[in-house]
Subunit: 312 residues, 2 copies
């Protein structure tokens, strides 16, 4: 496996974990970040500065893979630096939405050899100090697999994911956003709605009677609002589709409850969905040939499987 | 504390746990149940038969408290036996909705001295073998506290709850049903909707990317559908109100997302609700005088507090 060097811009929870994991896997790593995270990373012995241009110049010199691990709103500024200093670099990212990132790259750093990524890992905390080398162990790491992407960079990103202990789920950029709208962003919005309904009354009786179904159903409503907003608002189009699906199902259920009093269709569909999810977990993972077709890779993700290494 | 004898009709998860807990607290206990649960209870040394009339006759002889721990659809038949054999007995129940039970008692056993109850405990399993003596330890046990109820029987039910390790939450019958619709039944329906949306696509990509927010948000969709249906459909009127509240909030959010792209109102309301719930947990509990006014008792529940014993 190539031991390509890795330059990480943004040493927060995700970028900081990435630096640790890649170094532990034997990679040469360095990066740039905000003052606080750079200082904390430096104190832990990592070569992380506040000088983004210097970090990017070193990436050009060594043909390193540049990983943008900054929040979506910070991307334009960073991409402008990429275009100025390392315009044709090997480039990936870790942002939880992908269409918006592709749009930003096309606009601000159009010459970069970009293949998007989304490691499906995280905690409620943030910053360098919250990171850890095994954050990605066993996690899914989506790698964008749209036609026309650079297969060499695709391989770089896949090998970085594997080095961090993750499995690669290939997906088209738009299909990724639709999927996470349904299984990651909608859960946050429904949790918010449930928590608001539970706390809506003037008295404390409902919350005093709330037990595990309410606790579990509202858990992610405890996430810091700015994180939820950045994630969900950055995926507006796909999220509208997921919300409309939920509204349609809830409205149909309301109609059935009001007319016949029956909830069987809703409850059975939910039970079947949960069972399908339970059965779909922990894919075995497969190996693919280097330079497999992107179409064949996408099919692996659509089957719910993942890529865990090279064949031969 | 009175050591009133307890006759339990229905020795499943709840009734079976109640028999064990009350016996452990020194009470004389017996009951009646279906063949399978009666046999299992008998094998464990409990006086549980399939002869409901015989169990009720013994309750009349000893002025015992009769606890109906059967599912809502089984109540009419059991109440007819109560009216025939023990028409004026001290009577409570453990059903998770309360208005429907009050209606059934008024219709089938109108002379019974009935004070409804709802121990907020349970597991996904059912039957005598799933029961355990400490099922109610630390749990809330709602005791109906509507004006006009028999205060002696209220005290009987409260003392039984305390003997089982629970704290008593006094509530008006209709306020109980509204509260559980919001914090117990709506979570099941939103979980079902979320699970169905996640599993709606033709491909497996969404479920393959589903992580903890989806896992937690859909957990109760894994409950046996017949249990969810019995619980939710038995609380139709209150549940319609809760569903309409959720639909209104989800619709408003949909509008905001489509127009301005902003989700701040939804996310902040959800975060505030979750925080209010977290702050409301584990009430200290208070002592009240015997024969406190039912209105004063209801206020305790509305404050989110609970009654844990008698004063003096």
């Amino acid at each position: 496996m190539t031991q390509r060097a890795v330059c990480v811009i943004g040493a927060g929870l995700i970028g900081g974990s990435l630096l640790r994991a890649a170094e532990q896997a034997g990679r040469t790593v360095w990066g740039a970040s905000t003052e606080a995270d750079a200082a904390d990373a430096h104190a832990d012995g990592f070569d992380v500065t506040t000088d983004t241009d210097a970090a990017l110049r070193r990436a050009v010199e060594t043909d390193a893979l540049v990983v943008l691990a900054v929040p979506l709103p910070a991307l334009p500024d960073v991409l402008r630096r990429v275009d100025a200093v390392a315009p044709t670099c090997r480039l990936t990212d870790t942002v939880s939405v992908k269409v918006a990132v592709v749009d930003a790259v096309a606009r601000y750093a159009p010459r970069a050899r970009f293949v998007g990524g989304h490691p499906m890992a995280g905690t409620a905390e943030s910053g360098w100090t919250a990171g850890k080398a095994d954050l990605f162990a066993g996690a899914a790491w989506v790698v964008a697999s749209d036609d026309g992407l650079d297969l060499d960079v695709w391989a770089d990103v896949a090998e970085l994911a594997w080095a961090c202990g993750a499995r690669v789920v290939p997906a088209a950029t738009d299909e990724h956003d639709i999927a996470v709208a349904r299984v990651s962003h909608l859960p946050h919005l429904l949790a918010a709605v449930l928590a608001a309904v539970g706390a809506a009354g003037d008295d404390e009786l409902p919350l005093a009677l709330a037990a595990s179904s309410f606790a579990d159903g509202t858990r992610v409503a405890g996430t810091r609002p700015e994180l939820v907003l950045a994630m969900c608002e950055g995926n507006r189009d796909a999220l509208l589709g997921a919300v409309d699906d939920a509204l349609g199902r809830l409205g149909a259920m309301r109609g059935a409850l009001a007319s016949t009093g029956g909830l069987a269709a809703t409850v059975h569909a939910g039970h079947a969905g949960r069972q399908r999810w339970a059965a779909a977990r922990d894919p075995q993972g497969m190996q693919v040939k280097r330079r497999s077709s992107l179409s064949a890779l996408r099919d692996i993700g659509r089957r719910g499987d993942a890529v865990v290494g090279w064949k031969d």
